[in-house]
């Protein structure tokens, strides 16, 4: 299956240098959301964008390191979740490989995939760390209500996490694809590290007039 092509490593210097940039976008995206007091995390825009632009490895490594750095500086509890960020980057990389970022139906697919990865991936960690809570007050209220209604623990924990991820990942994916759409043409294929699919001609990068 051609999907594996997306994972074939072709690390150019450009791709390497892109990873820290994606990590910085993750951080700044979150910092802006916080400073605007938006009720969302928006802390994986760089990861998703990296995946779309340069394939699963760039997105995955960016997500992974974003979490490791935040756990080494501001939030130690983020460390276990770095695996999920890695998977999110992979998801975006696969979506990018399949060209999902180019049309609205693909955006929905990318959103659902990222949402499933984030919510399914986080739930076991939530159960191990926080007895099932996501530690987001509104979502935890949902968990409490479900548990009181005798919904099984795992389902309630999943609902808790999913209720937080649904909108957050929708906005994250939307912002990432909007960024992609807004890039100058020469950037769209510049960073791509994966083997191109058979049906798309390889375009070469160009430069601004200088």
């Amino acid at each position: 299956m051609g999907l594996l092509n997306a994972f074939k490593l072709r690390f150019s210097t450009l791709g390497i240098v892109l990873i820290p940039v994606c990590i910085a976008i993750d951080w700044v995206g979150h910092a802006i959301a916080t400073s605007l007091k938006l009720p969302l995390f928006l802390d994986s825009i760089g990861t998703i964008l990296g995946g779309i632009l340069a394939g699963p490895w760039v997105g995955g490594i960016a997500g992974f390191i974003t979490n490791l750095i935040s756990s080494g500086t501001v939030d130690p509890v983020a460390a276990p979740y770095s695996v999920i960020s890695l998977l999110l980057g992979f998801a975006a990389g696969i979506g990018g490989y399949l060209g999902w970022h180019k049309h609205p139906p693909g955006w929905v697919a990318l959103w659902l995939l990222c949402f499933l990865v984030a919510s399914l991936g986080s739930t076991p960690f939530n159960v191990a760390l926080y007895a099932g809570q996501s530690t987001i007050p509104y979502s935890d209220a949902l968990l409490a209500a479900l548990l009181k209604a005798h919904v099984p623990m795992w389902i309630a924990a999943y609902a808790d996490e999913a209720s937080a991820d649904l909108l957050d990942k929708a906005v994250t994916v939307l912002v990432a694809v909007l960024i992609y759409q807004g890039l100058p043409r020469r950037f769209r294929s510049l960073f791509r590290l994966y083997e191109p699919r058979d049906d798309e001609p390889e375009t070469t990068p160009a430069l601004s007039r200088s």
Binding site: P20, R185, R186, T203, T204, P205, A206, L207, R209, S210
Partner: protein, 274 residues
């Protein structure tokens, strides 16, 4: 003696474009020369450097016609990385040239030599020497990003010098610097020139080019408009019209002094006193 840089019939266009940004360049740069490359925006000056460094073919791809020989080797027969021990290139923006991975000025300079696998004692000597050459020895323990723009650009220069290049390609190295930073960078370059390093410098500051360079090439639409000593090139009517000239030329012309008009401060003082 092998030329530092030779271009024969060089034409280059970026991918997905039809216009040739370089459109028939013939030039030979001799070892030890300080060549100034001038031209209006979009004349192909940066591309000239990219082509000589091998970035045009290796990094941007696109189409290159003609021959480019750098220090005796055809440009396509070597990678940029292989070339990097003999040819250094300085870019416009000092911030993008910091490796970003080092926390001290001297470690930053060591980045290149270490990539090339030099042994630690040699790296240390090279770093000390390079910092000395650009006048940054005092700041060796500072964080690179605590330096001013001008100091940062000299740090980028030192990072190249630590690899002992024979040829330096400079793409508008002062365009983002204030007058103080510009002056310091030019002083460092003058010392290198005196030490025999070949310099090819794209530069907008025409007064500085006239003052410093042995030879000037004026580009327009990817072609060589004029090539020769600064005094000759800046007295060329086509150059004056399409590229501009040091302010002294314009002043002398307006006053009605007989040509050739002065291109440097010293010659201007003499010409106006006469």
């Amino acid at each position: 003696m092998t030329a530092a840089l030779t271009m024969r019939g060089v034409r280059y266009r970026y991918p997905d474009t039809t216009d040739y940004v370089l459109d028939g360049i013939d030039i030979v740069v001799q070892p030890g020369e300080w060549l100034g490359v001038v031209g209006a925006t979009n004349a192909g000056k940066s591309t000239f450097c990219y082509a000589a460094m091998g970035l045009a073919t290796e990094f941007f791809h696109g189409r290159l016609i003609g021959e480019i020989e750098v220090l005796g080797t055809e440009v396509r027969r070597q990678t940029v990385i292989e070339r990097s021990t003999r040819v250094g290139m300085l870019f416009q923006n000092p911030f993008t040239q910091v490796s970003g991975a080092r926390e001290r000025v001297d470690d930053e300079v060591a980045f290149g030599p270490e990539n090339h696998g030099l042994e630690p004692a040699l790296v240390k000597a090279r770093v000390a020497e390079a910092l000395q050459q650009v006048g940054l020895s005092e700041l060796r323990d500072r964080h690179p990003l605590d330096l001013s723009g001008g100091q940062l650009q000299r740090l980028a220069l030192a990072s190249l010098l630590a690899m002992h290049p024979e040829l330096l390609l400079l793409d508008e190295p002062t365009s983002q610097l204030d007058p103080g930073g510009t002056k310091e960078l030019f002083e460092a370059l003058s010392r290198l020139h005196a030490a025999g390093v070949t310099i090819v410098m794209v530069e907008q500051k025409l007064e500085a080019v006239a003052e410093l360079c042995d030879r000037v090439v004026a580009l327009a639409q990817g072609r060589i408009l004029a090539d020769g000593t600064p005094a000759r090139v800046f007295n060329d009517a086509a150059v004056q019209q399409q590229v501009g000239a040091p302010i002294y030329v314009r002043l002398a012309e307006s006053v009605g002094l007989p040509s050739p008009w002065p291109t440097t401060f010293e010659t201007a003082v003499r010409a106006f006193n006469a």
